[in-house]
């Protein structure tokens, strides 16, 4: 088995709100193998964005450990943590709000280099030019402002900024969902190229399942702060085992009418993380749910070597 670059061990994040604690991420275990792209999918409010932010320490976890390349991030002193954080970066969803409108592209991309005191002014300019070419823009673009670019181009600038410090791990948070479909394909191919050339490891957060199928080696499905199914993309897509994954996949529109006649569509909304259901979090919307599902929290059970699913009735329903 390949070595994992990032290991998440029992990670939980509870936000304190005026209405009480919000259980955004609950007891998540996830290994991200070196050089792989792991897709994290789920509805809005499933905690996937919080999980990504917690990995980068943009949000402090409530409990649990994150091990990055053998270093437990909880036990590091601030300067080692800063050095470690340099090796992981983020690409955002909104190509407009993620770039400071008042700064030139050069300043935006070189921000990390300046912060870490990398290179001289001239070397930084050369680096920015090289990065712009790497993401498919022109070196001359460094003198322009973000508003002079289209959405897809701005996303490329955001990618160049993330790559400036030569990170090993990138969290891409819904990085293509704000773009047109034709542009999405270009950005996805760019991400794949970069992964191949730099040997990057990536956590790709998305709600669009077809994008994840195209891009990712592994897929983790999140529901209400918990991972309910995880496995290699082709396995999860061809034989989904968790009832939630099944309904998600049957919600993908088919090009031929009448092709998927047996759709398992979900009813209702995701329950509030303020008051998550006892036992299995999905039981309130699950058509297979029994009384016993309210009592035990299902754990991820191995279906085969890499494919795991968290459902108490796994053997009966598959």
């Amino acid at each position: 088995m390949t070595e994992s670059l990032v290991s998440i061990r029992g990670l939980s994040k509870v936000f304190q709100s005026e209405k009480g604690p919000v259980f955004a991420v609950q007891d998540v275990y996830l290994d991200i193998p070196k050089g792989d792209i792991v897709g994290l999918v789920g509805e809005s409010g499933s905690g996937k964005t919080t999980l990504g932010r917690t990995l980068l320490r943009l949000i402090e976890p409530t409990s649990g450990d994150i091990v990055f390349d053998g270093n437990d991030m909880n036990s590091l002193d601030p300067s080692s943590l800063r050095a470690l954080r340099r090796r992981m970066q983020i690409i955002f969803q909104d190509p407009i709000a993620s770039l400071n409108p008042r700064l030139r592209v050069k300043e935006i991309i070189s921000e990390g280099l300046v912060a870490h005191g990398v290179g001289s002014r001239k070397e930084r300019t050369e680096k920015v030019a090289a990065l712009l070419e790497e993401v498919g823009l022109q070196p001359e673009d460094m003198r322009r402002f973000p508003h002079e670019f289209s959405g897809g181009q701005r996303q490329r600038i955001g990618i160049a900024r993330a790559l400036a410090l030569d990170p090993e791990f990138i969290v891409a948070d819904e990085s293509v969902s704000a773009l047109d479909v034709s542009i999405q394909a270009q950005i996805l191919n760019l991400l794949l190229d970069i992964r191949d050339q730099r040997g990057l490891t990536m956590l790709f957060i998305a709600h669009d399942l077809s994008v994840v199928e195209y891009l990712c080696d592994l897929v983790a499905v999140m529901y209400l702060g918990r991972i309910v199914e995880i496995g290699p993309s082709q396995d999860v897509y061809s034989s989904p085992s968790h009832p939630y994954t099944r309904s998600l996949l049957s919600a993908i529109p088919e090009p031929k009418p009448g092709l998927n006649s047996e759709r398992e569509l979900l009813q209702g909304d995701i329950p509030s993380p303020l008051n998550p259901p006892t036992g299995c979090v999905f039981r309130t919307r699950c058509k297979y749910a029994l009384d016993s599902c309210a009592e035990t929290i299902p754990t991820l059970v191995k279906l085969d070597k890499k494919h795991k699913s968290a459902c108490l009735r796994l053997s009966e329903i598959s």
Binding site: M88, F92, N100, L103, I108, V114, A115
Partner: protein, 285 residues
């Protein structure tokens, strides 16, 4: 959406000038600035020179705008008084902006400071401006510096509130989050990411504070708690002329007009700036 919040200063300036009222107002205000700046050269006489035999002379050949109760030239005094009034306005606008930006950034960016700072700001804004200014000048003593200090304290909360509110919004934007993951320092984030993006509302508010400070100075001087009464300011001139309102109404007319027109022109410039910086209104202009 495209280009929002990207109003380059040059474009804003041309938008201000496109509106006739603000263009005229800016022209007028610049004229006032030039006249007042050149006071030592263009003033017909020494503003302190008394000629008791020519007291309360109506406007005419010997005194263009008349003379006051001590026979001093009103035009000369008006020009010199303008220096003090505008200096106080500018001084208050500048120092309350600097203070307000510092306080507002801290309140908006550091959550644990916000509660305390915001309560103090609320408490200060609950006082009527002029009453707070009077008590501060009474404590500090009447001089130009003290009036600037007192009025800056009075108007700082206005800037601080705007800065705090804008900072709260920008703090949550993805580019600030990106800055944290890139390892940028708090100072870099506050100056390059936050301050650079909230300059426009600060500049607009500063022009209005300029206006309020000039009016407040006139009010304080009129009430006798402003700068040293021997220094001419427009407010002091009105206060002195008050006693002779029957015999020499021009004594309060001219300083009154000077205040009104300077304030009006600056206010119109401020309005133009505010509209030009608001993308929704700017598009209609």
């Amino acid at each position: 959406m495209e280009g929002q919040g990207l109003y380059a200063e040059r474009k804003v300036f041309s938008l201000v000038l496109e509106r006739r009222s603000s263009a005229l107002a800016l022209l007028f205000f610049v004229l006032v600035l030039i006249l007042v700046f050149l006071a030592p050269i263009i003033a017909p006489t020494d503003p302190y020179l008394m000629s008791v035999r020519q007291r309360l002379t109506p406007p005419g050949d010997s005194f263009f705008l008349g003379s006051d109760a001590f026979g001093r030239d009103v035009l000369s005094r008006l020009l010199y008084a303008g220096r003090v009034s505008l200096m106080i306005g500018a001084g208050v606008a500048l120092s309350s902006s600097i203070l307000g930006v510092l306080i507002g950034l801290m309140a908006g960016f550091f959550r644990n400071l916000d509660g305390l700072i915001s309560r103090i700001i609320d408490a200060m804004m609950a006082f009527p401006d002029i009453l707070l200014a009077i008590s501060l000048v009474a404590i500090l003593g009447g001089s130009m510096i003290n009036v600037i200090i007192a009025l800056s304290i009075v108007y700082t909360p206005r800037i601080a509130r705007i800065v705090r509110a804008s900072t709260l919004v920008i703090r949550e934007l993805p580019y600030v989050e990106a800055a944290r993951s890139l390892g940028s320092s708090t100072v870099y984030v506050l100056t390059r990411h936050v301050l650079l993006n909230i300059l426009s509302p600060i500049i607009v508010q500063a022009t209005f504070i300029f206006v309020y400070a000039m009016l407040a100075e006139a009010g304080l001087s009129f009430l006798g708690v402003g700068v040293d009464p021997s220094t001419p300011t427009w407010g002091i001139m009105i206060n002195e002329g008050r006693q002779y309102i029957d015999q020499a109404p021009y004594l309060i007319l001219f300083p009154g007009l000077a205040i009104s027109f300077s304030v009006l022109s600056l206010q119109l410039v401020g309005d133009g700036l505010r509209d030009a910086l608001d993308p929704r209104i700017a598009r209609q202009m």
